[in-house]
Symmetry: C2
Subunit: 347 residues, 2 copies
């Protein structure tokens, strides 16, 4: 590791942390030094990075000395505790948690959508919610051509969105059910194997769960469209990895289906996957491990003259989290936006 | 078996046929004689019905002599072949296939919605598509209070909707994947274990699949609302039994959420399942084997002032097929509508 910048990964042992490491290597991110940080519980373990065994350190007050960039994916409370300290030590933090996303002084960035927002950072840049990123990259190219008026989305979210242990639980639960047993859920609140349930994040007074409100509020912020109407129904399904979404879009004027297909086919970060003859469209197993969000079944909405229906699958750990964070980091380097001379603690 | 009427089940060995038999027994349907019919392939096997071993007969020209009622669930082509012959022999046919559903001379009946339509039958009454029935019983009570203007629905359909063999395939596929193998799908077109895919029924030129068009066209017919706007996205998920649906409703005027909850709580055929404190709502495993469609998460749609969101799970073999057919039969008996003096062959 020579040249480049000093990077720390906070939450290196988690699912997103592991994906971040893999992407830093495969994308040949210009690293000078790489520091792996985690909770004291995970400290001391080693992780192989491009042939080097790196020791995971417990995050501490002096962890951010000489660190240029922190990629944080250790959850909201960890980010709230450490992000300001990292910024105070001179680092820029790209935070994968929800801690700062709706803070008006923190840019919420999807590089395919609002790269310019990253320029205004004051030390922290937030990485959006996974389902929000996947939907955003798929529908923003259409929004640019004709502003979207209303979005109604239903999600099909995989177990891995609830963490690696939830993914394991679905496997062991499936095994037990196939053996005729009745396993008790431990990580997830209800059985997920051969079952599904509405997303179990906390509900607000209107009956929307946090995941749904993230899709609504974060999309408005990323699109810089505070008046955009959105509704979401988020559902956890027994898929191991990659989320799917059925999206109904309403425009002011009719949007020609062929034009929509052409736009998606040429847009960055998405891939048009439609074989109408074979009845083959995006599936989670095909989206797993892919950078692009797979989009298909683009149809004229038969219930509204100005509506379009579309279907997507995307890897929520990759583009929905780690890849988007790395792309933000690459953007900062490319545009020379890493300097934080105007940094202030935003929390 | 004494008193009552002579019933024949066409397709007695299938999943819906089995459910029909169970419901005839548990609901103490007034049977005089019960005849089990199936394809020559299944003929000769015996099925236990309330302690009696009944032999399955191959359906033939003389099968419908002295039969008052045929419950047909052997698929569209079988119904097309035999329904008219049964009617000519003096029987009334309640047909679970799609063969006659959109025939303007054939009533398409959900007893909680349009029982009066059954009175006009000319020998054949069609049982609607399963996802259509489940949605219909859930939203019609609201439609009665204030007409629904537009429906946008996304489905989460279980493997059993594609038949008992598809359900078995999901199990064996899951087992194989858990053992590290890569099984090839045989019944379903793509792997369904730990995966999902858009419903694989044939697509029309507008990109809607047959299942989606059934939801659109059959709902209009059952509701007697030809102008009702509907769009649907149907998705097959790795759930064994019971379908789920995320439904977005638009009305002409705002619909108070509490009123909607009260209506659903009192409506026939549905059960309000909402524990907002415990974040507990309808799930397929809880809907399995239940007569009622479980409805919950009734919310004001944040994207539209006249919108409501709701979520349902229902057993598509029970209320989505067999139970609805039995309820139609019970209605015919109760209203003395079994006579087919005006019968004519409608095909």
């Amino acid at each position: 590791m020579s040249g480049g910048i000093n990077v720390a990964i906070l939450g290196a042992t988690g699912a997103v942390g592991q994906e971040l490491l893999q992407l830093l290597a495969t994308r040949q991110f210009p690293l000078k030094n790489l520091k792996l940080l985690a909770s004291p519980r995970s400290a001391g373990t080693t992780i192989n990075y491009s042939g080097e065994e790196l020791e995971v350190e417990a995050v501490a007050e002096d962890s951010f000395q000489d660190v240029d960039l922190v990629l944080a994916s250790a959850g909201s409370s960890t980010s709230k505790t450490w992000a300001a300290k990292a910024v105070a030590a001179g680092a820029v933090v790209i935070d994968n948690s929800s801690a700062f996303r709706m803070n008006p002084e923190v840019p919420l960035v999807v590089p395919e959508i609002n790269p310019e927002a990253a320029a205004k950072h004051q030390g922290i840049i937030a990485n959006p919610n996974c389902t929000t990123i996947l939907m955003g990259v798929a529908i923003y190219p259409l929004h640019q051509v004709q502003p979207i008026k209303r979005v109604v989305v239903s999600t099909y979210q995989s177990a891995s969105g609830a963490g690696a242990r939830a993914m394991e639980e679905v496997k062991t639960q499936s095994q037990a059910i196939l053996a005729g047993e009745t396993p008790q859920p431990e990580i997830l609140p209800y059985p997920l194997a051969f079952n599904l349930f509405p997303h179990n994040s906390p509900l607000n007074e209107q009956g929307y769960c946090e995941e749904e409100m993230k899709m609504i509020n974060e999309t408005r912020k990323i699109f810089n469209a505070p008046q955009l109407s959105l509704s979401a129904t988020c559902v956890r399904v027994p898929v191991l990895r990659a989320h799917s979404e059925a999206i109904n879009l309403e425009f002011e004027q009719p949007f020609a289906v062929q034009q929509a297909r052409d736009i998606i086919a040429q847009a960055k970060g998405v891939k048009l996957v439609e074989d109408w003859q074979a009845n083959y469209f995006p599936m989670p197993i095909d989206a797993t491990g892919k950078d692009e969000v797979l989009v298909g079944r683009i149809r004229q909405d038969l219930s509204h003259p100005c509506g379009l229906e579309l279907w997507l699958c995307g890897d929520q750990i990759r583009k929905g989290a780690a890849l988007n964070a790395i792309q933000i980091a690459e953007l900062l380097l490319q545009e020379n936006w890493l300097k934080t001379t105007n940094s202030k603690v935003v929390v």
